[in-house]
């Protein structure tokens, strides 16, 4: 489904959380309440960066039960395509923006006997919302949070107050790390595992859990690839009869949208499968960056996820 009904919002507050992270507050322009959501949900923020329209997903970190505003914490990524840089440099209180309604690809399994949450760095944001939710509805949970240092550990104070003994913090600069083997072999039956953070950490947790015999259905992770910048390329869209140029800082999906062609999307992070597009002709190499396609689908070269993946070569024709 592509035609999301965008919500007109005003940036009501911008807070510097630490030297890398800013928190943005959004209120409805018409003064009403924003839609309720579930912990783990994200919104897609539209950024009109000069000529270029970016749409980037960020987790909602505020309480799902407080719909007077939405809050997102965004870590500045100096190597990225510029979405976080735009937010950090250009977005000021009072600015009008558009956001999508919330969607959740990292929801709690509410049947769980216990929720075991593991966060690394900025991966804490969905857990801030989920812990607010569980505080209200009840449910056993604990959070293991790895940070670089006390200074760069965002929201440690909030979490300490909210979770108390259920919060376990690990500081890199004190050579502390989570003992995943121990943690994942001592959980009661019916526990569900949630992990969000840097890719190496997610991979380590998933490998440990699978190796220890955790069934897939009890494992949940938020693995948003961020679209990376890359060499410009050209794509022909057969159904629309249009050829688009994809710029260095632009994703293929954004280039398709910039040509006025409506394409489905949900997560814009290579995780949900909605934007999957058939490749009709490819003289060159598909640079897959998603977490959606299976290995055999990648090697077959017949599908691409245009929200994060790119192309290098002479000719690319898509069924779009």
């Amino acid at each position: 489904m592509s035609n999301h009904a965008a919500i007109d919002v005003i940036v009501s507050e911008v807070v510097e959380v630490n030297s890398l992270i800013k928190r943005f507050h959004f209120k409805r322009r018409d003064g009403g309440h924003l839609p309720a959501f579930s912990g783990g949900a994200h919104i897609v923020i539209e950024m009109q960066d000069g000529e270029q329209l970016r749409r980037t997903p960020y987790s909602l970190m505020s309480s799902p039960l407080d719909t007077s505003d939405y809050q997102c914490s965004i870590r500045r990524d100096d190597e990225g395509r510029g979405g976080s840089l735009y937010m950090h440099r250009e977005v000021k209180p009072g600015m009008a923006m558009k956001i999508s309604p919330p969607a959740n690809l990292f929801a709690l399994d509410l049947r769980a006997r216990k929720h075991l949450m593991i966060a690394g760095g900025i991966g804490i944001t969905p857990f801030l919302a989920q812990s607010s939710q569980l505080e209200r509805t009840g449910g056993e949970y604990e959070l293991h949070y790895g940070v670089r240092s006390a200074q760069l550990g965002a929201y440690l104070d909030v979490l300490q107050e909210r979770l108390q003994h259920r919060l376990h913090t690990y500081y890199d600069d004190q050579q502390q790390s989570i003992d995943f083997d121990e943690l994942l072999s001592t959980q009661p039956a019916g526990t569900h595992l949630y992990v969000c953070g840097p890719t190496p950490m997610i991979d380590k947790v998933l490998n440990t859990a699978r190796g220890a015999g955790w069934p897939e259905s009890h494992i949940h992770f938020e693995h948003f690839a961020k679209a990376s910048p890359g060499e410009p390329f050209t794509a022909e869209l057969s159904a629309s009869g249009v050829t688009v140029e994809v710029g260095r800082e632009q994703s293929l999906l954004e280039a398709i949208e910039a040509a006025g062609i409506e394409a489905p999307y949900l997560c814009r992070g290579g995780a949900c499968g909605q934007c999957e597009t058939r490749v009709l002709d490819c003289d060159g190499e598909l640079l897959h960056e998603d977490h959606w396609l299976e290995d055999d689908e990648r090697s077959a070269g017949e599908k691409i996820m245009p929200c994060v993946s790119r192309f290098k070569g002479k000719r690319l024709v898509l069924e779009r």
């Binding site: 489904m1 839609p35 959501f37 949900a41 929801a107 399994d109 509410l110 489905p264 499968g273």
Partner: protein, 351 residues
Amino acid sequence: MGSTASLPTFKDGTYRDDFSFRNSPESVLRAPFPFDKDEYMYAVNMELHKDGRPGTAYEQPIDVDEHYLAEMRDRALVLDEDPLRCQSLPHMEMAGWDTLELLMECKANSYPDSFSLERDGDQWHWINRPMGIDQRFTFGDATTLPYGPLEYITRQAQGDFVVLDERANNLWMDAGMVTTQADWSLDFDIGMNFFEWHAPVPLAHEKGIFERAIKYLLAVQQSNPARRLNWTMTVNPRLDTSPENYHQWGPENTHITPENVADKLFLRIELQSFWRLPRSNAILFPIRCYFLSMRDLSTVPKWAKRMHRVLNTLPPELSSYKGLDNFRGTAVDWLAQFDDGSPTTPGPFPD
């Protein structure tokens, strides 16, 4: 949508015993006739649920019609006899509150003369004038309502309501209010996933219908509901054709004769819609039933003609699955008088 409407005068029909249910002529014309072509096969006939066509059942997002009170009386009778028709697995409480909010908001927005909702934080005040209900309660606190939130609001809303939990790229039927069903059991199916509860449907699995349908449904997002139509046929306007009491209504399937087919056999239309619920991330799946007798259909020349053709060409597996074998021939014979063989116009709406 966005425009409001006023409710018609309510009718007093029954859906059991003397079966005094009758449509007014206006009620026939506004029905969501399910056939846009002269033959029928399964398809992923999903579309966005918006841009309501004035004067039709699509006009408001949650339709209330002249049979509202009669249908709610029938639901109460079913629940008195069999409380298992409304169930909710323990993790679905939040989805029940989401459902309550959605139905109250929709009704109050669409029919402000009949329904109103005032919210002050979690202190809510709901008025349902047609049913004479004036309820103050605390949103999120089930002890402030006479029933759980799902049962409370679906005792005041036409059609069945199934609540689907989303997990592992699948949808799980984990709660529901089901008293107007076409022969399936919530008590048996609760807890099943999308593919499991559709297991008895022939042909559609092989055609990949359900794989495509679930991909569409998982993408349904807040503020973007979707809908589709389904249909079967029922002898007598009996809303509660449940497997639970099949041994009671089953014999009626053999009672259709050329003399009574016009008034005793009904096209049973299901307007199904799909709504993403905000706090639970579940999907609400209302299944609203509309009845048109064969005589009702005959008042709309295009519909009578098309119904004749659809029944005549229906694949035998579908006829058997839908339970039409006992009376399909009789219906085709009666409808033949309205079919001159001329082409029908495209789309489902009357000419």
